[in-house]
Subunit: 229 residues, 2 copies
Amino acid sequence: MSDAPLNRYQLAELGALLAEPARAAMLLALMDGRARPAGELARAAGVGAATASAHLKRLLEGGLLGVHAQGRHRYYRLAGDEVAAWLEAMALPHAPRSLPAASADAALCRARTCYRHLAGALGVAVCDAWLERGWLRSSADGLRFAGDAAEALRRAGCAPALTANLPRLRGRGCLDWTERRLHVGGPLGVALTETMLDAGWLRRAGSGRALLPSADGLRRLAGLGVRLD
Amino acid sequence: MSDAPLNRYQLAELGALLAEPARAAMLLALMDGRARPAGELARAAGVGAATASAHLKRLLEGGLLGVHAQGRHRYYRLAGDEVAAWLEAMALPHAPRSLPAASADAALCRARTCYRHLAGALGVAVCDAWLERGWLRSSADGLRFAGDAAEALRRAGCAPALTANLPRLRGRGCLDWTERRLHVGGPLGVALTETMLDAGWLRRAGSGRALLPSADGLRRLAGLGVRLD
DNA sequence: GGCAGGTTTCGGCGTACGCCGAAGCGTCGC
DNA sequence: GCGACGCTTCGGCGTACGCCGAAACCTGCC
């Protein structure tokens, strides 16, 4: 039997990093893509500074977090959007039991950030519509903006400085846990989301991950082929 | 802060189920979709019968496994292909560190079973090509066979009894850990894979998950638009 | 009925590790 | 320089749980 791609020890180690509620809480707190100092994560996890420090060390050594020191703070963040995508995927075996996230926040299902890009029903709708329209093309190295997609966004009111950059960025399909379908992640997904936030089509709802589409934003998106039922 | 879809305790519990090498080994041993008796899983995990029984009980209560008794054996299997898809996705945060599975078995990267459907480069190629050709359509309830796809398979030599059924089955996008893109899972994926096995385009390589495409199979698939570089 | 084999339950041992308080180290600001 | 503050390291305690052998349970077979 050829040793599996992910062997029992690697799988167990990865599981062990999640197996402690305090560590899980820290990872969830970092899901929005921002970096946070150790003390804030300790509070989020509900443990003392010493305990938090030990947990952060383990997560760091496990490759799930990155850190950078600034003054007397040490800011921790997720090691990459792969980690965020993977945490989202963790909900997969869970969802079937409580069906399409019956208990989950409705706004969160509709639109939210996944790491730093747009996810939820709206994220999937954008990805579907633009793939169909040829504005997104999937190739060996990921998703790319194509055709006059960037130009169409500019005409719809997005900042030229932001749209001009889109065709150069690479996107990655990211599995959406509420929709179970792909949305656009990677640098392209992040830039696209920032463009929409900048144009006022979306705004952040407080400190959480939910995003609220504006009436104008929905109209503009509908004009670009994106239907949100 | 609206409580996240997957809270810290659920995440930790899921992690804890993987956190033990013995349990991880059992899950990996069941990844091919077959059901296995407790004793065999105990051997696969390298622990005694008593220990294995305790682990299986935990996995069962955690909803990751199902069981059915037959005579004096109790056969355990993964609770569903969601669980298999999720286990595959576990490799995601791991892959970036050792890049596209440098150490993994080449045959396994090329074609393998994911639960019971086709995955690996070939699985992704099939999904890509047939989406592009309109033979697969993605809709709100998943992936469906469309156009004359079933008919084309029949003409290429697949058993009519099998191809006739395909348009009625529902598929699900399943994230491929080596390719990081979608392949076809769900009932449609399973049936499609069985059709190809039946036609001799693929055969199972021993007891593992690797699948070996035959020369004829590759030719036939190329004729159907599927290119495997 | 009696025995054999597969599986689970029980009891007990040992380790791993989560938790905290106290102490050490670095940075900031007076 | 000195205290305040943020963070990490160290030491020690307690629990959780993985492991096994022995015993109980169940099924199938003679």
